[in-house]
């Protein structure tokens, strides 16, 4: 959705400044430029979405598992919500925790990159982006090794008697750690961008107007970087809430499953699970949309909406 807004903005700009007669042609040019993007979205986003919605209302053919007929069966949604409420709650909770931890880790990092790194800035930037060069799955499997019962982390914690359950993998801690790790760059980059764009004189003005280091951070630096924080939290929370890889690879079979895992199993492993899987997908989307809407409203940055 962000991508859509961006394309539209760029298109309007391209046509904007042309004066007089050029304006009309510029307007058409803008729409022409929008066309490929719009077509792409209609073909690969809008149509599948409608299809998915139709599926979510289908009913199974009695006596023929795996066969469906077109219907308006809201029962699928009822099943999705009642039967899998726990998974929804877990998804939002884990995504929320991961977003929080990613923020706590990312802000100091982005701050250091923007203000303290000097000539190390580019090196740090590469370090943040470099993990993208290896597969997401591979990196998550690597975390399984790192957090494994016989791995270094679990062993150290066990020696210190700091691990009540005796292990990290197959617990929510591992899932949240994986989510945090995987989405960290999406938090770092927007925050870094907004800090880097901030006028250093504005931050100096805080000091000049009797605010000490911490007060200046609280009343000037942080608010100035708020658009980046909001973008980062959205970019982390939204995909994390729908993620299933981390719960699959790092979590347990029972107690840490997220909605993504249920959707996956309903689609691929439960015969006749298609409509419920689609209903689950739609419900998750609606939930996230509602939360994002409230969140962005609450922190009101005009730049995002």
């Amino acid at each position: 959705m962000t991508a859509l807004a961006h394309t539209a903005g760029a298109g309007t700009h391209a046509g904007g400044p042309a004066p007089g007669q050029g304006r009309r042609r510029g307007g058409i040019a803008a729409y022409l430029l929008l066309l490929p993007g719009a077509l792409w979205l209609v073909l690969f986003f809008l149509l599948p979405l409608i299809q998915l919605f139709a599926v979510s209302l289908q009913s199974g053919f009695p006596g023929y598992p795996g066969y469906y007929y077109r219907d308006v069966n809201a029962g699928n949604y009822l099943t999705a919500i009642t039967q899998f409420a726990g998974h929804f709650g877990r998804s939002l909770l884990y995504a929320g925790l991961a977003t929080f931890f990613a923020f706590v880790l990312a802000y100091p990092l982005a701050y250091a990159m923007a203000f303290k790194a000097g000539r190390w800035r580019n090196v740090m930037m590469i370090a943040v982006i470099a993990p993208f060069f290896t597969s997401f799955i591979l990196r998550t499997i690597a975390w399984r090794q790192i957090l494994a019962d016989e791995g270094p982390v679990a062993r150290v914690l066990n020696t210190l008697h700091l691990l009540p359950g005796g292990r990290i993998t197959e617990t929510w801690v591992a899932v949240v750690a994986g989510l945090t790790y995987n989405f960290l760059p999406f938090m770092v980059l927007p925050i870094y961008a907004s800090l880097e764009r901030a006028d250093p004189k504005v931050i100096e003005a805080g000091g000049d107007l009797y605010a000490n280091g911490f007060t200046t951070f609280r009343t000037v630096t942080l608010p100035v970087s708020l658009p980046g924080v909001i973008a980062g939290t959205l970019l982390t929370f939204i995909p994390a809430a729908g993620d299933y890889v981390n719960a699959e690879l790092l979590g347990s079979d029972r107690s840490t499953k997220m909605v993504g895992n249920v959707i996956e199993s309903q689609f691929f492993r439960v015969l006749g699970g298609f409509p419920v899987a689609a209903a689950l997908s739609f419900t998750l989307m609606a939930l996230i949309l509602a939360m994002v809407f409230v969140y962005v409203r609450r922190f009101g940055t005009e730049e995002l909406l």
Binding site: D199, K201, V202, E204, A205, G206, G207, D208, L209, Y210, A211, N212, G213, T215, T216, T219, V220, P223, V224, L226
Partner: protein
């Protein structure tokens, strides 16, 4: 951070004159401010005038605490502020780039300082300050919704509202149109006299510096070239840089050939001129002779009681209403300017190409050290 603060980490209630003692600021190998010493009396209006890049902003930043001097000390009264943090100093800055808080309304921008200092009536003070700069009507807007000039006025209000011991203004009127600029100059001067704060006003508009300040310091390449009352500075420049940067000067390089009573006799490109001994920065050897354009008389006949006259050729005549401005070529090849007020009933009949005589009262002449390089520099800068 705490490294710098000496004991108490709170606000310093320093009072008195501002002293810079042999302050030097080096950025790597580059010296931006070079062994600068000055005293600004409490409650005075001090202007720092100089070309771009001469170290004005750096000097202000050291007073504000945003930059620490490499060497030297900054004091207000007897309190040594060197090394203290910006928020500990009774000093506020109007930044060259405004630096308003983009996320706060104009009202909150102005109330920021008072709030930090625990002023219970911060909102009230902010309203008053906005009133002062005629920005009350826009108190609810964000900085991005204001024009450059409006932002500048808000920046002024945001600093003024704190009634600091020293207020630093870094080209605070640069973005204003001429009318508003004049209006704000008067307003600033009024505020300064009214509240009795020490103002340090950086500008490269020499007229602004001259009309507003009690003392003007002319800065060049990290040093103060000359400092004094505006009239004094204009009447008797002590370096060729000042002669060119503050107002305009007709200059000629020559050599001192002797003395005649209180005057030095100077030979400039074959012409003999006189400079009062106490108006010359050098007393022997090469010298740069100077006289201000409005002190020079132009006429078609050789003036009587000569000794200070030059034959010249008119290049250009421009009528400006109150005055006529001539550009003439003197024998040395230099181009001089002459301003004549249009006092006579008869119209001026001098036309380009005419041969004329220039004359002046030798009491207006001045002599500075002959230094082509700096004269050239100043001419380019001004």
């Amino acid at each position: 951070m705490a490294l710098f603060s000496t004991g108490s980490s709170g606000f310093r209630r320093a009072q008195g004159d501002l002293h810079l003692e042999a302050v030097t600021k080096e950025f790597a190998a580059f010296t931006a401010v070079d062994d600068l010493s000055l005293t600004v009396p409490r409650g005075s209006f001090f202007a720092l005038l100089g070309p771009s890049g001469c170290g004005k902003t750096t000097t202000l930043r050291m007073v504000a605490g945003l930059e620490q001097p490499t060497r030297g000390r900054v004091l207000i009264g007897d309190t040594d502020l060197t090394g203290s943090r910006p928020y500990e100093r009774p000093v506020n800055t109007v930044f060259q780039s405004y630096a308003l808080f983009p996320h706060l309304t104009i009202r909150d921008n102005v109330a920021f300082g008072p709030k930090r200092r625990g002023d219970a009536d911060a909102a009230r003070s902010a309203e008053d300050a906005l009133e002062l700069v005629q920005m009350s009507a826009m108190a609810g807007r964000k900085p991005a919704q204001l024009s450059g000039g409006q932002q500048q006025r808000v920046a002024l209000a945001r600093a003024l509202v704190n009634r600091p011991e020293v207020l630093l203004l870094d080209e605070p009127l640069g973005a204003l149109d001429l009318k508003l600029r004049r209006q704000m100059q008067v307003e600033l001067k009024r505020i300064q006299t009214e509240v009795g704060l020490t103002f340090i006003h950086v500008t490269h508009d020499q007229e602004e510096a001259m009309t507003m300040a009690d003392t003007v310091a002319v800065m060049n390449a990290g040093r103060i070239e000359q400092m004094g009352h505006p009239e004094e500075l204009y009447d008797l420049p002590r370096t060729s840089f000042v002669a060119n940067f503050v107002g305009q000067s007709n200059l000629g390089t020559g050599r001192i050939t002797g003395a005649d009573g209180h005057d030095l006799v100077v030979e400039v490109a074959g012409t003999t001129v006189r400079i009062p001994r106490d108006r010359s920065a050098v007393t022997s050897g090469p010298i740069m002779f100077g006289v201000r354009p409005e002190k020079v008389r132009i006429s078609t006949e050789q003036p009587a009681g000569a000794g200070n006259d030059v034959k010249a050729t008119v290049m250009d005549v421009s009528f400006t209403g109150v005055a006529t401005q001539f550009l003439v070529t003197v024998p040395s090849g230099a181009v001089w300017g002459v301003y004549e007020q249009n006092l006579d009933v008869e119209r001026n009949t001098i036309r380009p190409g005419d041969a004329v005589w220039l004359g002046w009262d030798s009491g207006h002449a001045f002599g500075v050290e002959a230094d082509e390089a700096s004269a050239e520099e100043a001419r380019v800068a001004s």
